[in-house]
């Protein structure tokens, strides 16, 4: 029975910490990748990224509704996945428009990064307003198809445990898509000519320009990739939880934290940062009562408190405490980011 106790504890831990943190971490990592790429090439922190995510997701939702009204579905998978490419395209179009009408002007003027950042606040307002205007600021559920890959009850029967692990379809999709997207992105950055020129531009702009890299093209590709990443991250988050304009704006905080903790400008760092933030957020705010009760030998023992380090109310605060610690002790992030 001793072994079963530990397995039960592991099951509880997986169900409430491991699986949700992996999912949330993947969503943050995709968001942070977009922020970090823009920082690497355009050299500013894009405050509009959360709202770019919201805009892309909104378009995906609109297309999902359209497909649903036509009777198209994706079987057990959410229809939103079919709508995703369209969302990405429209989001890319909007982001390129914002570059043409806002950022390009400051690029020509070689404005300071701070000016770009304030301009991105303006873009943030406009995008946020657009989303509220088109789809309303309400909470929207757009998930359809099957709900679970494994239900808790099935899991218990399968392994003969008292505790089950439930894995939602949206959680499975999130992790799979995140892996595919990250592999594709790294292949693009490391193997293709355009990707290499992006990295060169990010490492040393002057040298890149001297060697004949077209800066406009690099900037355009960066925006396109960032918009695609934002739409994917936003859609996955919305499928997993729900869509709300304000929630997406607030996602900016953990996403920035992930990108900075990992080292701004470093794609690998953004991924590591995303998972680090997600795991610490969930692990510090999880009540370990049940896990501890299984772990402590003997049947009678009951924990007299929830064994929770921080109340769940402080989820957002956790990511920022980590951010502050990293900024204080290792300002360039875990993976050496750039400092402009």
């Amino acid at each position: 029975m001793e072994g079963m106790e530990i397995l039960n504890a592991l099951a509880v831990f997986s169900n409430y910490v491991l699986v949700p943190a992996l999912t949330y971490g993947s969503q943050l990592a995709l968001g942070a990748l977009g922020v970090t790429l823009i920082y690497g090439v355009l050299r500013f922190s894009n405050f509009a990224h959360g709202d770019t995510m919201a805009f892309g997701t909104m378009v995906v939702i609109l297309f999902t509704w359209l497909f649903q009204s036509w009777g198209i579905s994706f079987g057990p998978l959410p229809t939103a996945l079919l709508a995703l490419p369209f969302g990405i395209l429209v989001c890319i179009a909007l982001v390129l428009l914002s570059d043409k009408f806002v950022y390009r002007f400051y690029r020509r003027k070689k404005a300071a990064p701070v000016i770009f950042m304030i301009a991105s606040m303006g873009v943030m307002f406009v995008m946020n307003g657009l989303v509220r205007f088109i789809i309303s600021p309400k909470d929207i559920q757009f998930r359809d198809g099957e709900r679970f890959i494994i239900k808790a009850r099935e899991f218990k029967q399968m392994f003969g445990l008292d505790e089950g692990v439930a894995i939602k379809v949206t959680q499975g999709i999130t992790v799979v898509i995140a892996i595919v997207v990250v592999i594709a992105l790294f292949w693009f950055l490391n193997r293709t000519r355009t990707g290499k020129s992006m990295r060169a531009f990010s490492d040393n702009e002057d040298l890149a320009l001297l060697s004949g890299i077209n800066p406009d093209k690099v900037v355009m590709i960066t925006w396109m990739i960032a918009a695609a990443l934002a739409t994917i991250a936003g859609t996955l988050y919305g499928l997993d939880k729900s869509f709300k304009a304000f929630t997406y704006f607030m996602l900016l905080l953990p996403i920035f934290a992930s990108a900075i903790v990992g080292g701004l400008g470093s794609p690998l760092g953004a991924i590591a940062g995303g998972y680090l933030i997600a795991f610490t957020e969930i692990m510090l705010t999880y009540a370990y009562k049940k896990v501890a009760e299984y772990m402590v030998p003997g049947d009678e023992w009951e924990a007299d408190s929830l064994m929770q380090l921080l109340s769940t109310d402080y989820k957002f605060a956790v990511s920022f405490m980590i951010l502050l610690l990293v900024l204080l002790f290792r300002p360039t992030g875990i993976f050496k980011g750039k400092s402009v």
């Binding site: 806002v102 950042m117 900075i260 402080y314 957002f316 920022f320 405490m321 900024l327 204080l328």
Partner: protein
């Protein structure tokens, strides 16, 4: 010439508000004026940080919220039962927390870098945290159990709320000192994101530490520094006055209260702007601008850049804290969920940029203009949408959606104003001299 521009711009602004009074209602107009004055003070504080010194503080919401907490803690009556239940335990646990932090800092500075230092620091921090929690949790739980429907918190000092304005400034200044110590060494965009995060932490604390602020249960009915409408309506001098000028007693009483607030706020604004102008024109102000324009050479001239940055960060934040306390006083209640970064941080930024960073009068004008647009975007949007959709059938889905969405025009308006001003008049409406 520049004062002519000031006069013209402010006259237009006043005309716009008078327009609202004339076409909408005077009650609305005075309501706008009150919030314009508070916004102007906040913008003044941010202008001191950004305009004088080039510090990008995106944590304005946090300092405004601290001002709100000051208003609460100064004005409401203390709850003796709650103090008896767990007040001193809470104080003791917070002291333990503070001692832990100080001890950790000393260890970090005193011991040589290495595994041993990390280990000792971890032991001190985790031990202190657990010890603090072991006293803090039961104490606050006991406080929150004291009559939770009406109190459930420690209450305040029961002093006149107007005292909260300077206290709010001090509270914000204290927080700014800590925040500044941590973040001012950072690069500009890290500073922005760090302050954004800290403001979120401050608001999270206010929302969830029920023993201090009642959290999301709100504290309403804060005492006022001005008379109540109901008392005015019964006061003989007020009835006589309204009768003399042929005004309606009931509706004028609410306008009169707003005018009283406006007078108080205007006094604060004038005092602050007088000091700001003096500071800007003093050697100190020139030094700040020298640091802003070229940090390296100012440093080479022997100016202590970091200390000056900290100083200006504290001053600006204190002004925001005063404004935050004033806002809570005006609302008459403390509602932690109302603190939203769009409204309390980013809109203030739009005010400073639009008005003209580096120019105090510009910040004030920006505060007035942007708040005016923020309020009036909704009725104007409604009017615009009604005009646009007038040709459509009444049951058309698009028409209904457009009319419903008109209320969200506000954020877009803010964004467009910000982008247009940055592009075509980057130094703002009233540029720095």
């Amino acid at each position: 010439m520049s004062w002519m521009r000031n006069v013209i711009c402010f006259s237009i602004m006043i005309l716009m508000i008078v327009g609202v009074g004339y076409f909408q209602s005077w009650n609305v107009a005075w309501g706008i004026i009150n919030l314009c004055l508070i916004s102007a003070i906040m913008a003044l504080g941010v202008n001191i940080q950004w305009g004088y010194a080039g510090l990008l503080n995106v944590g304005i919401m946090g300092f405004a919220a601290l001002g709100g907490v000051a208003a609460l803690l100064i004005s409401v009556e203390p709850v003796p039962e709650a103090w008896a239940a767990g007040g001193w335990g809470t104080v003791l646990s917070l002291l333990i927390g503070a001692v832990t932090v100080v001890a950790a800092i000393f260890i970090y500075k005193g011991l040589p870098k290495g595994f041993l230092r990390t280990l000792i620091m971890l032991v001190v921090c985790i031990g202190g945290f657990l010890l603090m929690r072991s006293i803090f949790d039961p104490a606050t739980e006991a406080i929150e159990k004291v009559n939770p429907a009406s109190t459930g918190y420690l209450g305040g000092l029961g002093l006149p709320i107007i005292l909260a304005w300077p206290v709010g400034g001090l509270l914000a200044a204290g927080a700014a000192w800590i925040v500044g110590k941590i973040t001012l060494g950072l690069r500009s965009d890290y500073l922005a994101i760090a302050t954004l995060g800290i403001s979120e932490i401050i608001v999270a604390l206010i929302k969830h530490e029920d023993w201090l602020t009642r959290g999301v249960k709100n504290v309403s009915g804060l005492p006022r520094p001005v008379p109540y409408e109901i008392d005015l309506q019964q006061a003989s001098w007020f009835i006589e006055m309204t009768a003399k000028y042929g005004l309606d007693t009931t509706s004028f009483s609410s306008i009169f209260v707003k005018i009283c607030y406006a007078a108080l706020f205007a006094v604060v604004l004038l005092i602050l702007i007088w000091f700001s102008e003096k500071a800007l024109k003093s050697p100190w102000g020139r030094m700040m601008r020298a640091i802003r324009d070229n940090e390296v050479s100012a440093n080479a001239m022997g100016k202590d850049v970091k200390a000056r940055h900290l100083q200006v960060f504290i001053l600006g934040s204190a002004i925001v804290g005063i404004a935050g306390a004033m806002l809570t006083t005006l609302d008459g209640q403390m509602t932690p969920v109302a603190y939203n970064p769009l409204r309390f941080t980013f809109v203030i930024w739009v005010m400073v940029i639009v008005g003209g960073s580096g120019n105090n009068w510009g910040a004030v004008l920006g505060g007035f203009l942007v708040w005016f647009c923020w309020v009036e975007a909704e009725p104007l949007g409604q009017w615009l949408m009604t005009a646009l959709t007038s040709g459509m059938a009444d049951d058309s889905g698009i028409k209904i959606h457009l009319l419903e969405s008109a209320a969200h025009m506000r954020l877009m308006t803010m964004g467009i104003i910000l982008l247009l001003v940055m592009r075509f008049s980057p130094r703002g409406i009233l540029p720095e001299k």
